[in-house]
């Protein structure tokens, strides 16, 4: 090999390798550390995701309830879809007394209801459910004079919690529960986004929440008469569970809402079933806690066909509302699914406020958080105390292609397909309402829904008024 050839080979080769790897590695250079950031909600980080059945121990944290005699007396539904009996302890802390431990045993493929604070009168309560094992889901149902509300408990603590909507107008009471089930002292900042902009009450900055304790703030003391109030909770140290308990209006025209916050903004939020009933109302609140404007596409799926999607622009640090009654593209008294998709990786938080037509049974109004992202397995609790069963499950397909769903009930013999249901195919974005019908019993036994693609599921106690007043997102199974 002559020097000329050798030189050419070397120079070209060296340059080729340098440039090649620079190009190949360019995309990776300077990459940010991965994290839950603004891009989509990872299912593992969902506060309502059921821990894997193989877990050694698992915990659920239920806040936003009151003691006996209060407006939101809790009952926890512990649903065990596994093949093993799971034992554990429910420890209830209150603002008026010492922690109360209660051993629990959840047999395989059953659901039990635990009233965690029968002896606690007044004040607020929160409960920690620690189980020797995983796979068990916990949902909290609170009830009182205004009616009842249901929400999943949190399966994790977090540093951030977001709520898209609440109200402090006259007649409404909004309590923010900051529950710290850990041993580490948490220091929490709370701020709000109202119609007037960002509100950070000094009293809510640096709130100390000692370990194994709860702090409940009456938001109306500092942010008054605001009908659309978004909340952001940030733990500067430690981690907490945050829930809002809103008691709206007087008895007969209002209702309680127990809402678990979202731990992280997500780009996709779904509400599987919505129905604009006459004289009722459905209003969505889109909270953009990020520092960038969110361009949100609202996809509306109908059982027959689809409505034209619409686009919302939600400025940074603001809340926008969407009143579906004003959307002529949605037929009245027709179920529809709504999916909010934020573009550009900007995370948002969405919830829904539903009001029943006048004269409907209590509760007449209710707030519910949407389902962030989707999952293929969902755990559906059965019966809502007091003696109100789930009347319907709503499923929305988040997949760009049709999916098939199967519904099974939990029984001692295992998962038993629901007679008469078989499997259903859903179009993308379209809602599937699974209501009680001939041969299809809902609300008496817990169920498990399995889909061939990611879907969002919610359980609706429809008979209380209009669809969506009392809704609980189902629990995603791993």
């Amino acid at each position: 090999m002559t020097d000329a050839v050798r030189r050419a080979v070397l120079v070209v080769g060296v340059l080729a390798v340098l440039v090649g790897i620079a190009v190949a590695g360019g995309g990776n250079d300077g990459g940010a550390v991965g994290g839950p950031g603004a891009g989509g909600l990872s299912s593992s980080g969902s506060p309502t995701r059921v821990p894997t059945a193989g877990a050694e121990t698992s915990a659920w944290f239920c806040a936003g309830a009151t003691g006996a005699g209060g407006d939101a007396q809790p009952v926890m539904l512990l649903t065990n879809p596994t093949r093993w009996t799971v034992t554990g302890m429910v420890t209830t802390v209150s603002s008026v007394g010492a922690p109360t431990p209660t051993p629990v045993t959840v047999p395989a493929r059953t659901e039990i209801a635990v009233a965690p604070a029968p002896g606690i009168t007044g004040g607020s309560v929160a409960s920690t459910v620690v189980l020797r094992g995983g796979g068990v889901g916990v949902t909290e149902v609170v009830s009182g004079p205004l009616g009842f509300s249901a929400a999943p408990c949190a399966s994790t603590t977090a540093s951030h919690w977001y709520f898209a909507d609440a109200s402090t107008v006259q007649g409404d009471t909004l309590s923010l529960s900051l529950f710290n089930p850990t041993g580490t002292v948490a220091v929490v900042d709370v701020s709000f986004v109202s119609s007037t902009g960002l509100v950070a009450p000094p009293a809510y900055q640096g709130i100390d929440v000692p370990g194994d304790s709860m702090v409940v703030e009456n938001v109306g003391d500092h942010v008054q008469n605001d009908p659309d109030l978004a909340t952001a909770v940030t733990a500067l140290s430690g981690q907490v569970v945050a829930a809002e308990l809103e008691s709206a209006g007087p008895a007969g025209s209002g209702g309680p809402s127990d809402v678990l916050g979202a731990t992280t903004p997500s780009t996709t939020w779904s509400f599987a079933q919505n129905t604009d009933v006459a004289t009722g109302g459905t209003v969505f609140h889109v909270f953009n806690p990020s520092t960038a404007t969110a361009r949100v596409t609202v996809k509306i799926g109908l059982q027959q066909g689809a409505a034209e999607p619409l686009v919302m622009r939600v400025p940074a640090g603001s809340v926008s509302t969407l009143d579906t009654r004003q959307l002529t593209r949605i037929p009245g008294d027709t179920p529809f699914a709504v999916t909010f998709v934020a573009g550009g990786g900007v995370g948002i938080v969405v919830d829904r406020h539903v009001s029943s037509p006048a004269g409907a049974p209590a509760p007449e109004t209710g707030d519910v958080a949407g389902v962030a992202g989707g999952a293929v397995r969902w755990l559906l609790p059965s019966e809502y105390p007091p003696s109100t069963g789930v009347s319907a499950f709503a499923v929305v397909d988040l997949n760009p292609a049709p999916v098939t769903v199967r519904l099974s009930v939990l029984s001692q013999a295992g998962l038993v397909p629901v007679p008469g249901f078989g499997s259903r195919r859903i179009r993308p974005g379209a809602p599937l309402i699974i209501g009680a019908g001939p041969g299809l019993a809902l609300g008496t036994v817990p169920s498990e829904l399995v889909a061939s693609g990611p879907v969002a599921v919610e359980a609706d106690a429809m008979p209380v008024g209009s669809p969506g007043v009392v809704v609980s997102p189902a629990l995603a199974l791993p």
């Binding site: 090999m1 020097d3 050798r6 030189r7 080979v9 070397l10 120079v11 080769g13 060296v14 390798v17 340098l18 790897i21 620079a22 590695g25 360019g26 990776n28 250079d29 300077g30 990459g31 940010a32 550390v33 991965g34 994290g35 839950p36 593992s44 821990p51 894997t52 193989g54 877990a55 050694e56 121990t57 698992s58 915990a59 034992t87 554990g88 302890m89 420890t91 431990p101 051993p103 920690t128 620690v130 189980l131 020797r132 995983g134 399966s155 994790t156 603590t157 977090a158 540093s159 089930p181 850990t182 041993g183 580490t184 002292v185 370990g211 140290s237 430690g238 981690q239």
Partner: protein
């Protein structure tokens, strides 16, 4: 015949003239000038010269003065003896003016109206060599010549011009001026009378000129040491009294250049025309010292008498300061003669202060020009200081201290010798200066680390005592994790022995082994480049290697393994390069001799002499078994064919063994060092194939074989530790490294710039690459080939480092900093090869872009140094000021509640010590009672029982548990520390690098219901597990606790334990009083622990909590819990020690017996030597190729056997 020419009287002062005097007289006799008279003044010669004068110059006048009072005082006699002369021509007795010289001098004096006119003084023996063409003087009287020693006269100085000094020897002075000035200063016996006269002449308004057309040969017998000075002159000089008299000015740039004794040509060559016996037996060195002293004192004398008050008040302080500095430097550098000369000058003049005062009055009387006018003719600044600095830069401090680059002797041979010495001094001094600068920068940059201990950062953990190190090596039990009987790294024993050698100074030992990596790497680089034969290349390569940010980033991030890799890599590459047998690392034929080898061929001790030996020795040493060549102690080279035996270390097996030992040492401290060797070998082998050439594939195979063989040797030497590491994939982690977070992996740019830390993150760092690319474009033959191999090796290392950082190598994820070390060597080698190419190849090209590229590469290399230079100002290479030792020191005070453990979690780059991997970017380690010690660098082959701890953390991250504290409690883990940064972040004090663990870790720990965070800021978090058991605890019988309610229900196993038996971390024995009950010893493995109860009853342990030891104590009393050693481990240690000693014996010394055995084996197997990978023939470039006496003794016969001898 009456002429109009002004009468000139030539005044020749003589004293014991030699045979040359006749020629001097003949020269005057031959003068064409019509009005020339000659007056010979004999200053006390032992033999009357009248006869000689009469014979050669009958018309001359002779006067016998009877006593030697020096040239000036003797010449002053002319004032009283001569009348009517217009000019005096003051001459030494060893000058021979050309026939027209006087005529030209007088003519020029008239033309220029000059008072003093000097001719061009040339060498007596070689009139083409210039001695003086007028001289300059600075404000301190220091004389500066205008010609270089030995400078050939090409007419380059032939313009008539004003000079400050007309040097003595032959000077035309207007008679009236001479009379007005009162002649020479009689106090100046020699060396300086010309300066005094010229200075005063200029004060009196006279011009001093040089008329180069007038040529005068000058023998300079005084400066050459042939003429002694009288005792009367020597009486107060700071040297011995062994000189005679007279008055030549030595050849030199400044008079201070007169060489002291240790720098004078030891063999001054006499003039051919001068019989050897004409020279007086005066040691040349002594003569030089004397002349130096004389000149210094006289120049000061002239200054003191010539300046007016104003200027003297300005100049004198400067002279005092300079003299003080010179005195101090001379004393400090061991040049007493020079210091004595300085002191003598001031003392001599101080004694004569009254005489000087009166002389100043006389000068003032003649003054027509003020000092400002006179000083315009002087040099600016200090000539002596300038000369010192120039030599310091160009030749080195030693030459500067010597202040000499002139010969006292004269003649061509002497000048040649001086020239050669100057070449040598140039090379030596440049190296010395460069090394000095490098050392200064290193010391300056490390200054804050020299006096204090390291902060506990990364792998720079506190070193346990030497006894503890040895105990851990010998005991067979390691406290890593929760305890293991896996073998420990031999580094524990090696460091323990080293600590003992240092009398227990393990702090000093740590300083040495950490900070010493940088000079060790530089030394390795210097040795690696030595065979290329260019000292400049060697120097540049070494400096480039030192200037790369890699080691300083390693230090700043506490990466001892990276530092060791940096130190070892040049040596590793050296072994592999020699194994390749590519020239110049392999056999050299005459055609392959690097330029240095040819340069050295003079054999006279010039620059290349040592290089020749180096090159050839290195080359021949490494030819391997196929070329049975030996290099004897005196440098002779012999082959197996002439009956001499090869040195077995030069064989492939020897190379393997040497590299194996190096690899074993490296791997014992930095386990991924084994990969380093393999990566280096792969790169070099691939480079060999890519660059091609004859035997390339065989060389590649040899390289790989050497690396694999060395690795095998290392595995054997590191037994049984290596066996434990290699026992299974789950145990390879220590060798393959811990994966870092890919999301925070270094970018391609950082990899290429070797900037994996706070240093070097500058665009300037790219410049090294540009510089290393030079040999690819201008090099040829072996230089181009090696540049290609180096680049391929660098590319392989870069790609591997980049891929490892991005977790692209699967389970093999060594630290990118470790993998970059071969690339650093390659870049430094590339730059060095660029220098060689510049010296060898560039002259062969026509001027064009290659020259421009060379300049740009040089500039690039220079500016690339700047980032490291700037970083040195920090004084600690950005190593944090405070580590986790200080931040967690409070933990140790909590041992009162029982000894405990600490679980450390974090990215491997910031985790103190070593650890085991949990996930990419997350590792864990365990220490006792606070921060661990340096042995945690080697966490063992597997975590053992501590694996359950890692698994528990993993479950917490997955959300599979919410009571991690319950899992950790039986292991005695009271604190969980999560580190985000290299060291605690302290606002306003330090902001160390941060590599946070996976984002879910923090949330997972915070979500644990039985862990309590007590510190959550400052770059690290601390969680406490209140339920943690003490390391040694007792559950008192009869006091079993009531089952308590934990978050998950009732639990009694973890409650009721009381601490007992306190012991230092890592102790294998604890003694104390215990109550009756169940004793827990939370160390593994449980079967290796036993309890000795009162009465000596030994109780074997029961397993508790799945790993720990428990004992049932029936009665209260004093017990001892101890580790039960194994005889097998003792045997293993003994074998290991024997192996090391044996290998050491094989490598140390010449091992003639082995060489004999090797030779015999080869003969038995009919080992006709095979030719090595023959380098392509190459003519030796450059002018040195044809030098007489070139290394002709090195030649290659047909068999490739090197024969002949190497001059030494």
């Amino acid at each position: 015949m009456e002429t109009l020419a002004p009468p000139v009287v030539a005044v020749i002062v003589t004293c014991d003239p030699g045979p040359w005097f006749a020629e001097t007289l003949r020269a005057f006799a031959a003068q064409e000038y019509p009005e020339l008279s000659v007056l010979v003044l004999d200053a006390g010669s032992a033999e009357d010269p009248t006869a000689v004068v009469a014979a050669e110059l009958p018309g001359a006048f002779v006067r016998l003065l009877g006593v030697n009072r020096g040239f000036g005082a003797s010449a002053n006699e002319a004032l009283t003896m001569v009348e009517g002369a217009s000019y005096f021509l003051f001459c030494h007795d060893d000058v021979a003016p050309a026939p027209d010289a006087v005529h030209l001098l007088v003519e020029e004096s008239y033309r220029s109206n000059a008072g003093v006119v000097a001719p061009k003084l040339v060498s007596w023996d070689d009139p083409e060599r210039l001695l003086h063409v007028g001289m300059a003087v600075d404000k301190g009287g220091a004389v500066v010549d205008r010609v270089e020693p030995g400078e050939v006269d090409h007419g380059q100085h032939d313009a008539v011009r004003d000079v400050f000094l007309a040097p003595g020897g032959c000077t035309l002075v207007r008679a009236d001026l001479f009379a007005e000035l009162g002649g020479f200063d009689p106090d100046i016996f020699a060396m300086g009378e010309d300066l005094d006269l010229c200075w005063r002449a200029q004060i009196a308004g006279a011009r001093v000129l040089v008329a180069p057309q007038a040529r005068v040969r000058h023998l300079e017998v005084l400066a050459s040491g042939r003429r002694p000075l009288p005792d009367s002159v020597l009486v107060d000089l700071p040297v011995g009294h062994d000189c005679g008299s007279t008055h030549d000015r030595p050849t030199g740039l400044v008079e201070a250049d007169v060489a002291p004794a240790d720098h004078v040509d030891p063999d001054p060559v006499p003039a051919d025309s001068v019989p050897a016996d004409a020279a007086v037996a005066v040691p040349a060195g002594s003569s030089a010292v004397i002349l130096q002293s004389l000149q210094r004192r006289h120049e000061l004398h002239v200054v003191l008498k010539s300046y007016g008050r104003f200027h003297l008040s300005r100049v004198l302080p400067q002279l005092i300061a300079l003299a003080s500095a010179e005195y101090g430097i001379a004393r400090a550098s061991g040049h007493g003669d020079r210091a004595a000369a300085v002191a003598h000058a001031w003392r001599w003049n101080f004694v004569r202060r009254r005489a000087i005062r009166s002389e100043r009055v006389e000068v003032r009387a003649h003054r027509l020009l003020d000092d400002a006018e006179v000083r315009r003719l002087q040099l600016h600044g200090s000539a002596r200081l300038n000369a010192y600095l120039r030599r310091a830069v160009n030749q080195g401090l030693k030459a500067a201290h010597l202040g000499a680059e002139s010969d006292v002797g004269e003649g061509e041979a002497a000048r040649d010798s001086a020239h050669r010495r100057r070449i040598r001094a140039d090379a030596v001094s440049l190296r010395v200066v460069a090394w000095a600068v490098a050392v200064v920068v290193l010391v300056f940059g490390t200054r804050q680390l020299l006096g204090s201990g390291f902060p506990y950062v990364g792998q720079l953990l506190p070193m346990p005592s030497a006894g503890t190190l040895l105990h851990r090596f010998l005991s067979g039990w390691q406290p890593t994790g929760v305890g293991t009987t896996d073998p420990t790294s031999p580094a524990t024993g090696i460091l323990g022995v080293a600590g003992m050698v240092l009398f227990g100074g393990v702090g000093l030992l740590q300083k040495i082994v950490v900070l010493g990596c940088v000079p060790a790497g530089a030394l390795g680089m210097a040795r690696l480049v030595r065979p290329v034969g260019s000292r400049h290349a060697r120097l540049v390569s070494t400096l480039v290697y030192l200037a790369l940010p890699l080691p300083y980033d390693a230090l700043a991030t506490g990466r001892w393994d990276a530092l060791l890799a940096y130190a070892a890599s040049p040596w590793v590459v050296g072994f592999l390069a020699r194994a390749s047998r590519f020239a110049p690392f392999g056999p050299l034929g005459a055609d392959d001799a690097p330029p240095g080898a040819a340069l050295s061929a003079n054999g006279d001790g010039a620059t290349g002499e040592r290089a020749t030996t180096d090159v050839t020795t290195a080359a021949l040493r490494d030819v391997g078994p196929d070329l049975p060549v030996s290099v004897t102690a005196d440098g002779a080279v012999a082959s197996g064919h002439d009956g001499r035996r090869p040195r077995w270390r030069t064989t492939l097996a020897g190379q393997m063994l040497g590299l194996g030992v190096l690899e074993a040492l490296l791997t014992s401290v930095a386990p991924s060092g084994a990969l380093l060797v393999l990566v280096t070998a792969t790169g070099l082998a691939l480079g060999s194939i890519v660059t091609g050439g004859r035997g390339a594939r065989r060389s590649a195979v040899r390289i790989l074989a050497t690396a694999l063989g060395a690795t095998a040797v290392a595995v054997v030497l590191l037994m049984p530790w290596s066996a434990a590491l290699l026992a299974g994939p789950d145990r390879w982690q220590a060798l393959t490294g811990l994966a870092t977070g890919a999301s925070s992996a270094p970018g391609w740019g950082a990899i290429l710039r070797f900037s994996l830390g706070p240093i070097g993150d500058s665009p300037l760092s790219w410049a090294f690459l540009a510089s290393a690319g030079l040999p690819l474009v201008i090099g040829s033959r072996w230089r181009l080939a090696w540049a290609g191999r180096a680049w391929v090796m660098a590319l392989v290392a870069w790609v591997m480092a980049w891929a490892a950082g991005h977790d692209w190598l699967g389970p093999v994820t060594p630290s990118p900093q470790v993998l970059l070390a071969p690339a650093a060597v390659a870049v430094a080698l590339g730059v060095g090869l660029g220098v060689v190419s510049f010296e060898s190849d560039l002259p062969g090209y026509r001027f064009g872009w290659r020259q421009v590229a060379t300049v740009m590469a040089a500039v690039a290399a220079a500016i690339a140094v700047l980032p490291v230079l700037f970083a040195s100002s920090n004084g600690r290479w950005d190593l944090p000021l405070s580590g986790y030792g200080e931040a967690t020191s409070w933990m140790s005070t909590h041992s009162r509640a029982g000894d405990f453990r600490v679980l450390w979690l974090g990215d491997p780059r910031v985790l103190p010590g070593g650890g085991w991997q949990l996930a990419p970017g997350l590792a864990y380690s365990i220490s006792e009672n606070g921060l661990g010690d340096a042995t945690e660098m080697w966490p063992g082959s597997s975590p053992g029982a501590a694996a359950a701890i890692g698994a528990g953390v993993g479950r917490a991250r997955r959300g599979s548990t919410v009571d991690l504290g319950r899992i950790l409690a039986p292991y005695g883990i009271r604190y969980v520390v999560v580190v985000d940064n290299l060291a605690p972040s302290i606002p306003g004090f330090q902001s160390p690098l941060g590599f946070g663990p996976p984002a879910d870790l923090d949330a997972a720990l915070l979500a644990q219901l039985d862990l309590r965070q007590i510190i959550g800021q400052g770059g690290f978090e601390v969680f406490v597990d209140d339920a943690a058991l003490p390391e040694r605890a007792v559950l008192v019988r009869g006091q079993e606790p009531t089952p308590t309610v934990s978050p998950v229900g009732t639990d009694s196993a973890l409650t009721g334990w009381r601490p007992i038996l306190g012991a230092p971390p890592g102790a294998t024995k604890a003694t104390g009083r215990v109550p009756a009950g169940t004793v827990l010893v939370a160390v593994a493995p449980s079967r290796s622990w036993e309890m000795v109860e009162r009465g000596g009853r030994v109780q074997r342990s029961e397993r508790i909590f799945g790993y720990a030891a428990s004992f049932d104590v029936a009665h209260p009393g004093t017990v001892t819990v101890r580790f039960r050693g194994s005889w097998v481990h003792g045997l293993e240690v003994a074998v290991e020690v024997v192996l090391w000693v044996a290998v050491g014996c094989l490598l140390v010394g010449r091992r003639r017996s082995l060489s004999r055995v090797w030779s015999r084996v080869r003969r038995r197997h009919g080992g006709r030597p095979r030719p090595a990978a023959a380098p392509e023939p190459e003519p030796v470039p450059g002018p040195t190729a044809g030098d007489a006496g070139a290394v002709s003794g090195t030649a290659t016969d047909d068999a490739g056997v090197v024969t002949g001898a190497v001059p030494t």
